[in-house]
């Protein structure tokens, strides 16, 4: 109440002292003083009567941007245009920065959840009912109120057969969908047929879920066949519902799209006057006025753009290979580099197909000693030197070290053990192991013979060097190592989607894939065989299809899946972490199921010297945690120049 009065008072005082000259959109305000509660450009519009005053635009209790990271300097000035580029037409790289508007947010350390658009949430006793209380007074970028009807509208579409949305997997329990009720404009109640404790994590994961479940009903209804006489199917609806293709669609982002140049080659965004987040002093965010992001598909053009100083701050699409070039260009380009992390446990991991089509290879791969021998045949130091210039660290394949399952002492020790088990390079030992399991016979070229008398030959699916040169290089190095073990390695390098098809159908024997995951509850499949990917295509298919297709799990696979089922039912967070650790122990004892090469890749972030408040360190690998979105990029600012 008091803050509200003070705010209104200060607004009135400021407005009445408004004798400032008309501010050009591109000028940066020197008015860093705490009296400016909103951007000068918006204040101008308020003065002209085109916008309601800031206290009416903000919700009753705006979200306060946190900055518990090193690198935050101070509250910033308003103004400026942030130029950057993206390499994919889906605008994913930008959305990781400026499209994180979820009901519930991950905190910066990824150790907890915090309120977003929802002020609070709570489960009932047995986890079958989740109630969310929305922040009151939040508005869409066109001024219309944001209420629970957005979520309800989304779920309506999910249940509608004519629309391609379906109730998401995480909302189902044993295949049964949830029901969504909205008793009032600021309450959402999700009812599940059974306990579904992980839902809040899902609501906070990625920018894609919050993009989907926040639909501006007041805008989209005119394309909905049930609400509008002009349309009798969802074709137009789907087109208009794509946020990065439709500048008219209202959004909840800090900057909303104002102009999309033909084909999406350049996208202009401007501050959202109704943005619901403020800084420590109650000033409405974002500080920066405009964003211009260009589509640059050629990697070398991106390099030149950075060197020429054309980007103000760039998180992704910067390759480690060009690091020395970027370092040299710092002075000339007037930028500095902060080294963030990929938090990858394996770049790449070597996935062995647990259910290989060839029965002999299948038996071999299921033999722990065989897998250990293969692990001994990977020269990790060499991989590191060649592919990454020694900037990464050799290790066994793990998920992210920073994952919140391994924060406690026990967990940290367990992770250390996991990292270093089967991370050795020793050809002699590997050869001995292979001899021990009955592969000591050799053919005339020196390759080992399988139990059925044929030459032991393995196909290694490797992405083409044009796609990921590091993985291609590492594939060659691994092949060399295994050849020394007496195994013939055939490198298979298809361009395009053939690789993925083979993976999904489980027709590969070995393939390479980068491994980075911060939360195994929502994305368990590096450790638990829950989906037809990575090293468990067929068992995963069985789990995903509810037992209808794929291969039924036995032994260790079954153990792992049982643990995951327990996790889904477990209410207590700490107990859940313990269950994950149990599963990791299984990997250490009975594994390795997938082999590691090197991990923990540094990822350079290019930041101009006049650009501030960017965290010194962050995690850019796994997308589920939406970095740098979780650092509130709306509180980055640029100096007045």
């Amino acid at each position: 109440m008091i803050t509200k009065t003070l705010r209104t008072l200060s607004c009135i005082i400021w407005l009445s002292s408004c004798s400032q000259p008309v501010v050009d959109m591109d000028e940066i305000s020197d008015n860093i003083g705490l009296e400016a509660m909103e951007a000068p450009v918006l204040a101008k519009e308020v003065a002209e009567g085109r916008l309601p005053p800031v206290n009416e635009r903000l919700p009753e209790k705006p979200l306060v941007a946190k900055h518990e990271y090193a690198g935050f300097e101070q509250a910033g000035v308003y103004g400026g245009t942030w130029h950057n580029f993206h390499s994919g037409t889906d605008l994913g790289a930008w959305k990781m920065i400026g499209a994180y508007a979820p009901l519930i947010r991950w905190n910066w350390a990824c150790t907890d959840l915090e309120p977003g658009l929802a002020e609070s949430w709570s489960f009932n006793e047995d986890g079958t009912e989740l109630t969310l209380k929305l922040r009151r007074g939040v508005r869409w970028s066109d001024g219309e109120p944001y209420t629970s009807e957005a979520f309800a509208f989304w779920y309506e579409l999910c249940l509608d057969d004519r629309h391609r949305y379906a109730p998401p997997v995480w909302s189902r329990v044993d295949g049964q969908p949830m029901t969504v009720e909205t008793p009032d404009a600021y309450t959402i109640v999700m009812k599940f047929p059974g306990p579904n404790w992980l839902v809040p994590l899902w609501l906070a994961t990625g920018f894609w879920w919050c993009e989907e479940y926040n639909i501006p009903k007041h805008f989209m209804r005119r394309y909905h066949p049930d609400y509008s006489p002009n349309h009798n199917d969802f074709v137009a609806f789907e087109k208009k519902n794509i946020s990065h293709r439709n500048a008219d669609r209202p959004s909840l982002w800090p900057w909303h799209i104002t102009k999309i140049e033909k084909g999406g080659f350049r996208i202009h965004l401007e501050r959202n006057p109704y943005y619901y987040v403020v800084d420590d002093h109650g000033r409405q965010l974002p500080y920066i006025d405009k964003i211009v992001t260009s589509l640059v598909t050629e990697s070398q053009v991106r390099v030149l753009k950075v060197l020429a100083g054309d980007v103000d701050c760039q998180f992704r699409d910067i390759e480690l290979r060009d690091l020395s070039l970027f370092m040299e260009g710092r002075e000339q380009g007037d930028y500095h580099i902060k080294m963030w992390k990929s938090a990858a446990g394996a770049e790449p991991a070597v996935n062995l197909n647990w259910s290989d089509n060839d029965p002999v290879l299948r038996t071999l791969i299921r033999n722990q000693k065989f897998r250990k021998a293969l692990a001994l045949g990977i020269d990790r130091e060499k991989c590191n030197a060649i592919a990454y210039r020694g900037l990464l660290k050799p290790q066994a394949a793990t998920v992210s070290e920073e994952a919140w399952h391994f924060i406690d002492k026990e967990g940290a020790a367990l992770f250390e053990l996991w990292k270093n088990t089967d991370a050795e390079f020793n050809i002699e030992k590997g050869n001995r192991l292979l001899d021990e399991i009955g592969l000591s016979g050799r053919d005339e070229d020196g390759y080992r013979l399988r139990p059925d008398g044929q030459r032991l030959s393995i196909v290694l699916d490797t992405p083409a060097s044009a796609i990921i040169v590091q993985e291609n290089d590492i594939g060659l190095i691994i092949a060399g190592g295994w050849e020394a073990l007496g195994i013939e390695v055939v490198i298979f390098t298809p361009p395009g989607a053939e690789l993925k098809l083979r993976r999904d159908l489980g027709e590969f024997t070995i393939h390479l894939h980068g491994e980075a995951e911060m939360d195994l509850f929502t994305y368990p499949d590096w450790v638990f065989p829950t989906s037809p990917r990575y090293w468990h295509p067929k068992v995963g298919k069985w789990y995903e299809s509810g037992g209808e297709k794929g291969e039924e799990p036995t032994g260790v696979m079954k153990e792992l899946l049982d643990i995951y089922d327990q996790i889904k039912q477990e209410k207590d967070l700490q107990k859940r972490h313990k269950l994950v650790q149990e599963a990791v122990k299984l990997h250490i004892d009975k594994g390795p199921f997938h082999l590691g090469t090197v991990g923990r890749k540094p990822m350079p972030v290019i930041i101009k010297n006049y650009f501030h408040n960017v965290p010194d360190e962050g995690i850019l690998g796994p997308w589920a945690i939406v970095a740098p979105g979780i650092s509130f990029p709306e509180q980055y600012y640029m100096d007045a120049r």
Binding site: S324, E381, G390, A464, S465, I491, E498
Partner: protein
């Protein structure tokens, strides 16, 4: 590709002239046509030099195992991105290279190499390496005369091994075009009627296709399951697809003329079979023309393979060709920091220029009115 223009220009301009030569063939005295051409060719010094250079290249390419100091896939972590080392000669040590000292950049962990003049590694001739290959020149220490790439592989060796692919792609591709073009062109001109029509339309359609996009589309369509060798042949076929059309059209033109000449008609009325007439009477008249055209088409093929591999659509690693080497060099980092990786462009240039000179000389030799 510009040779494509050339061949057409030649055909249109010198058609009338070469017709006269063919007539002369039947009349000339004791020197055969071929000997005449050879004599004239010998006078063209540029042509001879080009021919010698090319023969040299092919010998080195075929004997890659012997001429190259290293294998093309010898990965060596310790010598990544080494700049070219100089060969020195002193009376005492013979040919030798100096040793290398490496330091690591603190922030970027890049290796920086300096020559260490205190260490001298003399060149060793005709020795066996680890794979039991006899190599012309090796050394106990690192001997990277053209530097190394990002995996520590010797660039000179990779260029030599790459020559095997790049040079043969041209020859085989042209050979394929030749066969296809000559056969189809002859059939077209000789049989006339529907065969002619069909083949002509086919050629036109192919000609209406822009070559690079067509190559790109076909290159992208190469089945991924193919091994490097199969991909190599696939690329050769793709490259030859474009050029056989032009050759076919010219051969057809020739055949149309010869078909009605006296000796051909005579043979026909004597009861000779089609095949006999084609091979013994018609085709030989085209030989000189075919040879010239082929020689001029080879560089186009080589450049085509280079371009395709450069785009990533051609030869795939671990096989290497000049195009693959250039593709690895097309990064700003490379161009600014490791410019020696662009050296494969030079053999491409030399070979293409040489082929052009050779073809030019052959054409001049076959044309009595020049000079």
């Amino acid at each position: 590709m510009s040779n494509y223009i050339k061949t057409h220009a030649i055909s249109k301009v010198s058609e009338s002239l070469t017709d006269k030569i063919e007539d002369a063939r039947v009349d000339i005295g004791h020197l055969s046509y071929r000997k005449l051409i050879w004599r004239r060719f010998r006078k063209n010094r540029m042509g001879i030099m080009a021919g010698v250079i090319l023969i040299g290249f092919y010998i080195i390419a075929m004997g890659a195992d012997f001429f190259a100091p290293y294998h093309f896939n010898d990965i060596n972590v310790l010598v990544r991105h080494v700049p070219p080392q100089a060969l020195h000669y002193t009376w005492a040590d013979g040919l030798h290279v100096y040793g290398l000292k490496s330091t690591q950049h603190v922030e970027t962990l890049e290796l920086i190499f300096e020559t260490d003049a205190t260490q001298i590694y003399p060149v060793i001739y005709f020795s066996y390496d680890a794979r039991d290959q006899v190599r012309l020149m090796t050394s106990e220490g690192p001997m990277f005369l053209l530097g190394t790439d990002r995996m520590g592989r010797d660039l000179l060796s990779r260029i030599i091994y790459g020559a095997r692919v790049s040079l043969t792609v041209g020859i085989i591709g042209v050979f394929l075009s030749l066969i296809l073009g000559s056969v189809l062109g002859t059939m077209s001109g000789y049989f006339g009627g529907w065969t002619d029509h069909l083949i002509q339309r086919g050629i036109e359609i192919l000609a209406a296709f822009p070559p690079i996009p067509l190559w790109m589309a076909l290159g992208a369509a190469l089945p991924p399951g193919w091994s490097s060798i199969q991909t190599y042949f696939g690329i050769t076929i793709i490259l030859s697809i474009i050029s056989w059309g032009g050759l076919a059209r010219e051969v057809r033109g020739k055949v149309l003329v010869f078909r009605d000449l006296d000796y051909a008609v005579a043979a026909q009325s004597a009861g000779a079979g089609h095949w006999y007439i084609i091979t013994r009477h018609l085709l030989p008249g085209c030989y000189s023309h075919i040879i010239v055209v082929s020689t001029l088409a080879i560089p186009g093929m080589i450049l085509g393979e280079t371009a395709l591999s450069f785009l990533g659509l051609g030869i795939r690693p671990p096989m290497t060709s000049w195009g693959v080497l250039l593709e690895e060099a097309q990064r700003v980092t490379v161009l600014l920091h490791y410019p020696w990786l662009l050296l494969p462009a030079i053999p491409v240039l030399i070979v293409v220029i040489a082929f052009n000179f050779l073809g030019d000389a052959l054409r001049d030799a076959a044309d009595p009115y020049s000079g």
